[in-house]
């Protein structure tokens, strides 16, 4: 059964965002598989859907589905956290459809028009041609308007209701997140200036404001799934914010080693980015401590499993995989190779895909009428377990395969060959590189299988369930009340 009508206004909006996020997640892997195939069969879709198109859709679908997931998550928790109904629910719904229509138009233009003549009209209407933020300028403006409406919904709801440590952090973080996007919305001839500000968007989103945002979602998620104490999760959240912004803001410097910026960034960027894994260790300690403290007794086992996957994935993908090539002494040879792709795959999945999936499971449980989703699910919950396993091992496998290809590139193209075009192609032809690409593709199929099972599970889990959700043992009357309903 689907208990959609009993959802609150904010939850109804959230469900729309989650549904769109899952569709885009599927699109991300489809275009990722196409791009991966083009490494193995360069003639595949040549002059039809070239690599620059498939790769662009692959990474943009990822950015957008994660944003959808975050927005959905915040709409989902805002009423519970503030204690009042969502302010401006009608506007939020209209906003969803405008945003989604804009995304659809951008994707169609990417696929059909692809590129334009070398003038400003192309930048405004077709493609901005800057990795991760390729959306044309009209869409940039639309995104800002949509994010402002979203911000109004959230901030006004908290202002009307109650503020907590989580909501205070969340609102301030959303201001920073929206503000950072403005840094990428201009054109300049000077590529060094261009990339300087471009990294303000990419890095300060992905390695700062997004991390804090998922820290807020994690704090709320641990209270909901485990009944963790508010005081504990809030204190951890502050620790994580201090460490995250303490290391991540100047950790931006690791993108300023080689783009024409002054030499002092080698020291500043190297030092602070080397500290960036520390808050991610804190997140692992936090999640595992809380889960262990509650004997892994959860009212939503799939969500808890994905929250734990998030803690470890974030630490491994963003922390360890980032650290291994972040010092300038090694980055001089790894910059612009498959090392970065390896890091990108595990970091985006581990840090962000996982927690959005956890939130979707929390939402599905409620949509199904707050049904039982703890141990003893039909079929022993094989679908969610297989999806969890295939997705995590699939992405980890791609990560390792890309890292091996990156090692080979660093040595043969960069260190030995001196980064000439001949050296680039010599490295691309090398059997170790080719084998890396083959294994990346195989693990890509494994990831795709995981997504299909995940979507199947999300559509079916709890459908025939008659038991109500497990009441978990909480430590304070307040948390117990929230856990009970």
């Amino acid at each position: 059964m689907i208990d959609y009508r009993s959802l609150s206004a904010g939850q109804k909006v959230a469900v729309k965002y989650f549904a769109a996020a899952m569709v885009l997640f599927l699109a991300q892997i489809v275009f990722g598989l196409l791009a991966g195939l083009q490494f193995l069969m360069p003639g595949f879709l040549y002059n039809v859907l070239d690599f620059n198109v498939t790769r662009m859709v692959h990474i943009n679908a990822m950015i957008v589905w994660m944003l959808y997931g975050f927005i959905g998550s915040v709409y989902w928790l805002v009423e519970d956290e503030s204690g009042v109904e969502l302010v401006g629910a009608r506007l939020a719904n209209i906003n969803f459809w405008i945003f989604t229509t804009a995304v659809a138009v951008v994707v169609v233009v990417f696929l059909v028009v692809q590129s334009g003549p070398g003038n400003q009209e192309s930048i405004w209407l077709i493609n901005e041609g800057r990795e991760y933020i390729e959306a044309p300028r009209w869409a940039d403006i639309g995104i800002v308007v949509c994010v402002l409406i979203f911000f109004y919904n959230i901030a006004a709801t908290f202002l009307k209701g109650r503020f907590s440590g989580i909501s205070g952090t969340l609102v301030l973080d959303l201001i920073a997140l929206a503000g950072m996007y403005l840094a990428g919305m201009f054109y300049t001839t000077n590529v060094s200036v261009d990339q300087y500000w471009w990294w303000w968007v990419i890095h300060l989103w992905v390695e700062a404001t997004w991390e804090v945002l998922v820290g807020c979602i994690m704090a709320w998620g641990l209270m909901k799934t485990l009944g963790a104490r508010r005081q504990i999760v809030t204190t951890w959240l502050y620790i994580e914010v201090a460490l995250m912004f303490g290391s991540g803001i100047l950790g931006l410097g690791h993108h300023y080693f080689w783009i024409g910026t002054p030499e002092y960034w080698l020291t500043i960027g190297g030092f602070f980015s080397a500290l960036e894994p520390i808050p991610l260790v804190a997140m692992v300690v936090h999640a595992v401590y809380d889960a262990g403290r509650h004997g892994f007794q959860s009212r939503n086992n799939p969500a808890l499993a994905w929250l734990i996957a998030h803690a470890f994935g974030n630490f491994l993908g963003a922390g360890v995989w980032g650290f291994i090539h972040t010092l300038p002494q090694i980055n001089l040879y790894t910059h612009g190779t498959q090392w970065t792709a390896s890091h990108g795959h595990l970091a985006f999945f581990g840090a962000y895909a996982t927690i959005v999936i956890a939130m979707v499971y929390i939402a599905v449980q409620r949509v199904r009428g707050d049904v039982w989703m703890s141990e003893g699910l039909p079929g022993n919950g094989w679908k969610w377990k297989w999806a969890l396993g295939l997705l995590n091992f699939g992405v980890l496998g791609m990560t390792v395969a890309l890292l091996i290809a990156g090692y080979e590139q660093s040595f043969i193209e960069r260190a030995v060959g001196g980064s000439t075009w001949t050296a680039f192609f010599e490295a691309q032809r090398h059997p170790w590189f080719v084998q890396g690409m083959v294994w990346r593709q195989i693990f890509g199929y494994m990831t795709a299988a995981g997504i299909l099972i995940l979507l199947w599970d999300l559509m079916t889990i709890g459908a025939a369930e008659t038991r109500t959700a497990k009441v978990i043992q909480a430590h304070t009357p307040r948390t117990a009340a929230q856990a009970a309903g």
């Binding site: 390729e134 990339q195 030499e263």
Partner: protein
């Protein structure tokens, strides 16, 4: 557990203040450094050359003091045989830059090492030995950009650049953009790169 029993360094209040202070402090440091860096990377200052550098020969030489390779600006060597004034040079490089964005070069190539990894890095494309010699370089680059199917350079990988409908004017702009970019001081990236042989 009562609030009184929590030691100060584990208290919510202490870490809230820490979070606010650390974030504010780091943001201020970043803003100060940004003023300095943006000034240093303005064209014609510090590490980034003026656009008129396309009128001169650009090289890549080892600097003993900095222990890294740095761009060298040599004798006059006007691009396409015509020296340009500051406005003309800016217009030509700008045409190349906007074309590189409109054609989405960055989702196959890397530019200053950033982008995708399907095709070679463009940071030193102007200086790449693959163009054979100085005399034929400009023509080869123009031909390749305008008709990459016919003038494909796959190095045995069968990986070809798609036909992006680049006009001759856009191709000239792209070559100017690449020449200007090769003169940016990138703190020794790429290391060990040996440029095409040139007159000085």
């Amino acid at each position: 557990m009562s609030k009184q029993r929590i030691v100060w360094w584990a208290s919510e209040d202490f870490w809230r203040k820490c979070a606010i202070f650390v974030t504010a402090f780091m943001a201020v440091v970043l803003i100060v450094l940004t003023f300095d860096s943006v000034s240093a990377i303005t064209a014609g200052r510090g590490h980034v050359p003026a656009y008129t550098v396309i009128n001169q020969r650009v090289g890549y030489v080892f600097d003993e003091t900095r222990n890294m390779k740095v761009p060298s600006i040599g004798a006059p060597a006007p691009l396409f045989g015509k020296a340009l004034d500051a406005d003309e040079a800016l217009a030509l490089v700008d045409l190349g830059k906007v074309t590189s964005q409109a054609k989405n070069c960055m989702d196959c190539h890397t530019i200053l090492g950033n982008g995708a990894y399907y095709a070679p890095d463009l940071t030193k494309a102007w200086l790449d030995p693959a163009w054979g010699n100085e005399a034929s370089r400009e023509t080869l680059m123009l031909n390749f950009l305008m008709d990459p199917n016919r003038y494909a350079r796959t190095y045995g990988t069968n990986r070809r650049m798609p036909n992006l409908g680049i006009t001759e004017a856009e191709a000239r702009g792209l070559v100017a953009y690449l020449k200007w970019m090769s003169a940016i001081d990138t703190n020794g990236f790429p290391a060990g790169f040996v440029p095409i042989e040139q007159g000085d």
